[in-house]
């Protein structure tokens, strides 16, 4: 057994492994970025899962109807943003517990996508978004021939970092999430900033959802996001609500999975079910503050009343 494990470790193509993990990280990171925008402004968002699922379905259906993956993508992202707006209305305007609102939206998304999928039927497969396989780009290590959305994900990490920490909007977002009373006194429209950030979060989740139907497989199955939104939440927490560390966290979750896949391929099965618990175990350890203190936004989950 030991010999075979070392043998496999020698024979693994590590670059391929990392590329696989990066691809698998795409929806997780999108969900994490969505969570970062929403939670940095003070709104807990456990509905990312539901937003991804909704987007996955709508992307698929719209891409089939318009026969264009691009219009599918646009419609799907829009649908996730509508769901995010609902989350905003329920939790900001009506000041409902944000966890309840998120739970509602997750149940709603699971129900409505499953229902529409059954009612409207779906045999056709949707057109794919392209992979980055142009000449020159194709041969890049790690990034060559990756799905378009993986590139978009990397771009969004850079963009999110810039917006959050280098722009006025980012400062306002963080202020609203840390000390809304002070932000309000300084003239920031607290709830408006929150609405917009929750919807940007919805957009991110929407992009993540698109990955499932426009890249991975070209069809939809009910509940196909299977908890990736929650892993995104885990990556966000493990990355301490910052974009680049969230990607590293996601990789920390996906590399062992990819490794388990490789071992499987070489005929050395690892208990993949237990490896799949890694994100959750690490998140709990992070929240327990064993490694370092996790610092969520101070006003997270507290509705703002003027």
């Amino acid at each position: 057994m030991i010999e075979s494990i070392t043998e496999v470790l020698v024979r693994i193509d590590y670059l391929f492994l990392l590329a696989t993990a990066l691809r698998a990280s795409t929806p997780i990171v999108f969900a994490a970025l969505g969570g970062i925008f929403s939670e940095r402004s003070g709104v807990i968002n456990i509905a990312l899962e539901g937003m991804m699922l909704t987007s996955a379905y709508v992307c698929y259906k719209a891409a089939v109807i318009f026969n264009s993956p691009w219009l599918g993508l646009a419609t799907g992202v829009l649908s996730a943003m509508v769901l995010a707006l609902l989350h905003g209305v329920i939790s900001i305007r009506y000041r409902t517990n944000q966890v309840v609102s998120g739970t509602v939206l997750n149940i709603f998304a699971a129900g409505i996508t499953g229902f529409l999928f059954r009612v409207l039927g779906a045999q056709e497969s949707a057109p794919y978004l392209p992979n980055m396989n142009m000449p020159l780009v194709r041969d890049l290590p790690l990034l060559g021939n990756q799905p378009l959305l993986t590139w978009v994900m990397l771009l969004m990490i850079a963009l999110t970092t810039f917006v959050l920490f280098r722009t006025r909007w980012g400062l306002r977002t963080r202020a609203v999430g840390e000390l809304p009373r002070a932000a309000d006194t300084a003239g920031v429209a607290v709830n408006r900033v929150r609405y917009v950030n929750v919807m940007i979060g919805g957009m991110m989740a929407g992009l993540g959802g698109a990955f499932f139907t426009l890249h991975t497989v070209s069809s939809f199955t009910p509940l196909m996001t299977s908890g990736q939104g929650f892993i995104g939440l885990a990556a966000m927490i493990f990355g301490n609500w910052t974009p680049l560390p969230a990607l590293l966290a996601a990789m920390l979750f996906t590399v062992p999975q990819a490794l388990a896949g490789q071992f499987q391929m070489f005929g050395v099965p690892l208990p993949y079910q237990l490896i799949s618990t890694l994100p959750y175990v690490l998140t709990i350890i992070t929240l327990a503050g064993v490694v370092r203190r996790s610092t969520p936004p101070a006003a997270l989950g507290v509705p703002y009343v003027k």
Binding site: I44, I90, T96, V100, F108, F115, L274, T277, I284, A288
Partner: protein, 364 residues
């Protein structure tokens, strides 16, 4: 306002209105997508309450009670958390761990008489659920880790552990990945001869509801839990150990969820499959919200959700409406219960549009 009026106008009437409004909106979804909501709902009622049993098919109403049983136990557990201001989203995971422990005791321990083996198997489930929830409770109490996130994470770990055990160490020798059957001495018996499946778990659930009532309304611990839930700072001033209360509440909440898992596998499956009752733990959050902390309300909400879960199959079969619509109804119910403002604003805008027109029609 008298207590009775407060009950009606404070909780019961809004809850009933929320259910009706949710059914109405889900009906609208059906109309838009070209299904017949009246056919669907009448099939739902048929399938949930009215269809008589046959030699091979159990009576519809008894099956509704079978479905309502885990909802009731789980929702009591979740409500207990709510009372202390804790959000136990981990009911699902605690249910899985409870089921795993019960089945393990059920088939690994042999040669005991039923009056020892059955209580032992049930207790194993209760303890497993309690310990699983206590991880989140302990982290909340000692490290201020938000229980919402830790319980979500613990759900996924529980799924994986069950999946691993059923595919690995506890797998039986047959083809399907599942555990061996439990010993007959660990089976929670049915109340009626087959094909009926109505079982003693119903009485355990009712006993749990009665216990919940006495705990919350007639005990010091219940008072402590409610005080912490109302205002933990005030509770701390009053000399209550808030963190200890969190830990105890989470443990009790998990104990009930573990009991639900134990009952499901000891009465219905009698072995542990890889996946069972996926989503019961989440639906029960809705049941708890609808029940609003009142054991009678929770029981009625559990009955409603049991009816929907049970009737959905017949609705899909006879009216051709996908059972996924039930989740849409449930989502609408929670949103109206949790955010009464939305229901009120919706209704007021409808009234505002309808009333003047109806008044005019009356004059003409």
């Amino acid at each position: 306002m008298s207590a009775r009026r407060l009950f009606w106008f404070g909780s019961a009437a809004p809850a009933i209105a929320s259910v009706l409004l949710a059914l109405l909106l889900a009906g609208l979804v059906m109309v838009i997508t070209g299904s017949d909501p009246i056919a669907a709902y009448s099939a739902l009622v048929q399938g949930a309450f009215l269809r008589p049993g046959t030699a091979t098919r159990p009576t519809a109403f008894f099956e509704t009670l079978v479905s309502a049983t885990p909802y009731l136990i789980l929702a009591l557990g979740i409500s207990l958390g709510f009372a202390a201001g804790l959000f136990n989203i981990g009911a699902e995971g605690q249910l899985y761990m409870g089921a795993l422990a019960s089945v393990s005791v059920g088939f690994l321990v042999k040669g005991l008489p039923w009056f020892i083996h059955l209580p032992l198997a049930l207790a194993a489930g209760v303890v497993a659920g309690m310990l699983w929830a206590s991880i989140a409770g302990w982290l909340k109490a000692t490290r201020e880790a938000p229980e919402v996130v830790t319980t979500i994470m613990l759900n996924y770990i529980a799924y994986a552990v069950v999946n691993y055990m059923v595919n690995g160490p506890l797998r039986h020798t047959g083809t399907a990945p599942r555990t061996p059957d439990i010993e007959p001495s660990a089976v929670l018996p049915t109340l009626l001869p087959p094909p009926e499946r109505l079982h003693w778990g119903l009485f355990l659930a009712i006993a749990a509801a009665v216990g919940y009532y006495f705990l919350m309304n007639r005990s010091t611990l219940g008072l402590r839990i409610r005080l912490v839930g109302e205002n933990r700072h005030a509770a701390r001033y009053a000399g209550i150990n808030v963190n200890q209360t969190y830990l105890i509440t989470m443990a009790l909440s998990g104990a009930l969820c573990g009991l639900a898992g134990a009952v499901e596998v000891l009465a219905l499956y009698r072995y542990l499959p890889t996946e069972f009752t996926v989503g019961y733990g989440f639906d029960s959050i809705a049941v708890a919200l609808l029940g609003q902390g009142n054991p009678v309300g929770i029981a009625l909400a559990a009955l409603l959700f049991g009816a929907m879960a049970n009737g959905a199959g017949y609705m899909q079969f006879s009216a051709g409406v996908s059972n996924y619509i039930i989740a849409v109804v449930q989502a609408f119910i929670i949103v109206f219960v949790a955010a009464p403002g939305i229901a009120r604003d919706l209704l007021v805008s409808w009234w505002a549009r309808w009333l003047p027109r109806r008044a005019k029609e009356g004059e003409a």
